[in-house]
C-alpha cells in the first residue's frame, strides 16, 4: 500500500466552499506546512494550489482522485463548523507484549509517531453536529502507524459507542487501516471482538451506525466494526479488503481483475450501500441521520413512538 505523505493541514477559513471546517488545533508538524503551496496529484500528477485543493475537499479536480485525509480534514468535511469536541484523547498506547523488533522498541516507536502525527493514537473520537443533529464520530488516521488497530483504538471506539448509547446519539465511523497493530499481538486481534460486541449493543438500543470506508482499509478493521453498519458508505476509489492484493497473488497465484477491491468493486458485489463523493458526504450523512433518527427526534418532541423497539431496551447495556 502506498502511503500518501502529501496531507497538508487545512489552515484557515478563507474560502467559501469550506463552511464546515472546524479544526480543533494545528496538529501538523512544521515540516509539512513549509511545502504547502502546491500539491501534486499522486494519480494524474496534476498540480493544484493548496487553497484550491482545500476548497475541493482535497479531491483532484482533473481525475477525481480522493486524497487521503488527516483526521481534522475529515472533521471539517463532515461536521458543522465549530461543533467538534474530542473525547478520550488522553488514552495512550501501552506495551502488552514488551515488543521489540531488531532493537526498535515499541514505546519508542510510539513516541516518535505521536510527535510526527500530532495525535496520541490512530483513532480520534469525539462528537459534533451535522445540520445541527448530534453525531458521534470515530476517525482512523492512517498517518498514525497506518491506522493499525491496537488496544487504544479499540478502547476509544468502545467508549464512544457506550457514549452513544448513554446519550442516544448515532455513530459514524470513518475507517482506514493497514490492519492490526502487530506490536500488540493477540490484544489487537481481540479489538475486533470488543468493538463489534459494542456495536451489537448500539444496534439493540436502536441507534444507527454509519460506516465510511476510506483508502486504504484492510484487515481486522474491515473484518469487524467497519463492515457491521446499517449503512456503509465508501469514498470513490478507496481500496477496501481483508487480505491485500500482494498477499492474495502470492498465496493463490490468481490474476486479480482491474478495479479489484476498489469501493466501486465492493458496491458491485453488494458490500457497500453507496460510493459517495467527498463533497456529498456532509449532506448524505445529514440526510441519513434525519431518516434513521426519527425515534430520537420524536422523543425529544415528546411525541409517542410509533413503533417500539424489538429488543428489550433494558438489555441494551450490559455493564
Amino acid at each position: 500500500m502506498k502511503q500518501n505523505a502529501n496531507v497538508p493541514v487545512v489552515k484557515g477559513k478563507d474560502h467559501h466552499f469550506f463552511k464546515r471546517k472546524s479544526l480543533s488545533n494545528a496538529i501538523a508538524p512544521q515540516r509539512e506546512l513549509e511545502n504547502d503551496i502546491w500539491v501534486k496529484c499522486p494519480k494524474c500528477n496534476e498540480l493544484t494550489y493548496t487553497k484550491e485543493h482545500q476548497k475541493s475537499f482535497k479531491v483532484c479536480q482533473k481525475c477525481d482522485y480522493h486524497y487521503r485525509l488527516r483526521w481534522n480534514d475529515r472533521v471539517a468535511a463532515i461536521l458543522d463548523e465549530g461543533s467538534w469536541v474530542e473525547i478520550n484523547a488522553g488514552v495512550k498506547t501501552g506495551d502488552p507484549l514488551g515488543f521489540a523488533n531488531e532493537g526498535e522498541v515499541y514505546p519508542q516507536k510510539i513516541v516518535q509517531t505521536r510527535r510526527k502525527a500530532g495525535i496520541n493514537e490512530a483513532l480520534v473520537t469525539g462528537y459534533g453536529t451535522v445540520d445541527g443533529q448530534p453525531l458521534a464520530v470515530a476517525i482512523a488516521d492512517f498517518a498514525f502507524l497506518g491506522a493499525s488497530m491496537g488496544s487504544v483504538f479499540g478502547e476509544k471506539l468502545v467508549r464512544l459507542i457506550e457514549f452513544c448509547i448513554e446519550r442516544r446519539m448515532p455513530l459514524l465511523t470513518v475507517s482506514a487501516s493497514g490492519g492490526a497493530r502487530m506490536h500488540e499481538g493477540i490484544y489487537s486481534l481481540m479489538q475486533m471482538a470488543k468493538t463489534t460486541a459494542a456495536l451489537a449493543l448500539l444496534g439493540e438500543a436502536g441507534l444507527p451506525h454509519f460506516s465510511l470506508l476510506t483508502d486504504p482499509c484492510y484487515g481486522g478493521v474491515t473484518a469487524s466494526y467497519a463492515m457491521v453498519a446499517d449503512v456503509i458508505l465508501a469514498e470513490p476509489g478507496a481500496m477496501v479488503g481483508f487480505a491485500g492484493p500482494r498477499v492474495i497473488e502470492q498465496t493463490t497465484r490468481q490474476k486479480l481483475p482491474a478495479g479489484f477491491q476498489t469501493a466501486e468493486f465492493l458496491l458491485e458485489h453488494g458490500m457497500v450501500d453507496r460510493v459517495v463523493a467527498r463533497k456529498e458526504l456532509h449532506s448524505t450523512v445529514g440526510l441519513l441521520m434525519r431518516l434513521l433518527n426519527r425515534r430520537e427526534s420524536a422523543q425529544e418532541k415528546g411525541v409517542l413512538l410509533t413503533i417500539p423497539l424489538r429488543q428489550n431496551e433494558e438489555m441494551r447495556y450490559a455493564g
Binding site: 499481538g185 493477540i186 481481540m190
Partner: protein
C-alpha cells in the same frame, strides 16, 4: 506526573456506573517467559532469544502436526450422534468449516469448527482449513439455529486464517467474519470455543467470541500467522520462528494475558501421540464449563439469566486491551 495505570485482559469486571475508568491489572506486563523488556531489549543474550524461539517454534510445529486430532476427530468421539449440516443458503458449502447438530454428554449441542486435512488430497478438499465466506455464513446460519433451539454452541478452532483469495474478497470474507462476531456477542446460548491447533487471525476469532475460550497446551492463537507476521515485520517469511516468539502466541502466553480462560494439558509429546487421552481432557473441560454456564442460566428468571450471561460475555471482551491514561 500523574500515576499511570494499566488495564490488562480480563480483570474483575468494571462496574460502569461507578465510572471507575482504570483498574490495575494483577497480571504482570511481562511474565517469566517474556524475555524482551523495554529497557533491556538491546542487551539480551542471543541464546536466551534462541531458547524461547525454539520452544515456541516447537509448539507451532506440534500445533500444525498432521496427525494431531482435527475437528471431526473430536466430534466423532465426543458426539457419537452427529448430523453434519451443509451450506450457507446463499452461495455454497465450505468444506473447510464444518458444523452440525450433535449430542454431547446427554444434551443437544451445535458444533462448529475449521477442518484441516491429514494429507495433500484431504488438505486440498479442506482448503488447508482456510474457510471462505461461505464457511462463515454457514457458521452464522448454524449459530442462529443453535439459538432458536436453545442448544449450546461448541467451537473447535483450527485454521491458519480465512482464505485469502479473489473469491473471498468478492463475497467479502471480512463482512462474513464481522457479522459472526456481531451475532456471537449476543447469541442467547452458552458458547465455548477451544483452540485445538492453529488459531489464525480473524478467521479463527470468527468462531472464537465465546463465554469460555480454551486452548490446548500446544496450540497457538495469534493476530497473524508466524509467517505472515515475519513478512509484515521483516518482509521475510523465513523468520517465522522469530516472529512466533516475538508475537507471544502460545496458550501459556495467552493465559498469562488473561485472553483465554484455561489451558488444557496434552499428553507428553503432544496431542498427536494420544488422541483418546486428549479428547478425554477436552470432554472433561467442555462438560465442566457447560455445566457451570447452564447452572447460571437456571438462576432466577430466565430472561434475566440470559441477560446476565450476555453481560458477562460482553465484559470479558470489553476489558481486553492494555493502555495508559492520565487520571
Amino acid at each position: 506526573m500523574p500515576v499511570k495505570l494499566r488495564q490488562g485482559g480480563n480483570p474483575a469486571p468494571m462496574p460502569r456506573k461507578r465510572r471507575i475508568r482504570k483498574v490495575a491489572s494483577d497480571k504482570p506486563e511481562n511474565g517469566s517467559s517474556s524475555i524482551i523488556s523495554n529497557d533491556f531489549a538491546a542487551t539480551i543474550a542471543e541464546e536466551v532469544i534462541s531458547d524461547v524461539t525454539d520452544e515456541t517454534w516447537k509448539k507451532v510445529q506440534i500445533a500444525r502436526h498432521p496427525q494431531r486430532p482435527h475437528t471431526l476427530d473430536y466430534i466423532k468421539v465426543l458426539c457419537p450422534d452427529f448430523v453434519e449440516l451443509h451450506g450457507d443458503r446463499r452461495f455454497g458449502d465450505d468444506h473447510a468449516l464444518v458444523g452440525g447438530l450433535a449430542e454431547f454428554e446427554g444434551r443437544g449441542v451445535m458444533v462448529l469448527g475449521q477442518q484441516k486435512g491429514r494429507d495433500t488430497k484431504e488438505n486440498i478438499a479442506r482448503n488447508f482449513g482456510m474457510p471462505t465466506p461461505e464457511g462463515y455464513r454457514k457458521a452464522l446460519r448454524l449459530m442462529q439455529q443453535a439459538e432458536k433451539f436453545g442448544l449450546p454452541l461448541l467451537c473447535f478452532i483450527d485454521t491458519p486464517g480465512a482464505y485469502p483469495g479473489l473469491q473471498s474478497e468478492e463475497r467479502s470474507v471480512a463482512q462474513a467474519i464481522a457479522e459472526n462476531l456481531l451475532v456471537l456477542s449476543r447469541l442467547r446460548v452458552p458458547i465455548i470455543s477451544l483452540v485445538i491447533g492453529e488459531g489464525g487471525s480473524g478467521g479463527a476469532l470468527a468462531i472464537g467470541l465465546a463465554d469460555r475460550v480454551l486452548m490446548l497446551e500446544n496450540s497457538i492463537y495469534s493476530v497473524a500467522s508466524p509467517e505472515a507476521s515475519a513478512s509484515i515485520l521483516w518482509r521475510d517469511a523465513a523468520k517465522a520462528p522469530i516472529a512466533a516468539a516475538t508475537m507471544k502466541i502460545t496458550a501459556q502466553d495467552l493465559h498469562r494475558f488473561g485472553i483465554i480462560d484455561e489451558v488444557l494439558p496434552e499428553p507428553a509429546g503432544g496431542a498427536h501421540t494420544d488422541h483418546s487421552a486428549t479428547i478425554a481432557t477436552v470432554r472433561e473441560a467442555f462438560s465442566r464449563h457447560l455445566t457451570t454456564l447452564e447452572a447460571g442460566l437456571q438462576e432466577g428468571e430466565p430472561t434475566a439469566a440470559i441477560a446476565s450471561m450476555l453481560a458477562a460475555r460482553y465484559q470479558k471482551f470489553r476489558t481486553m486491551g492494555v493502555w495508559e491514561e492520565e487520571l
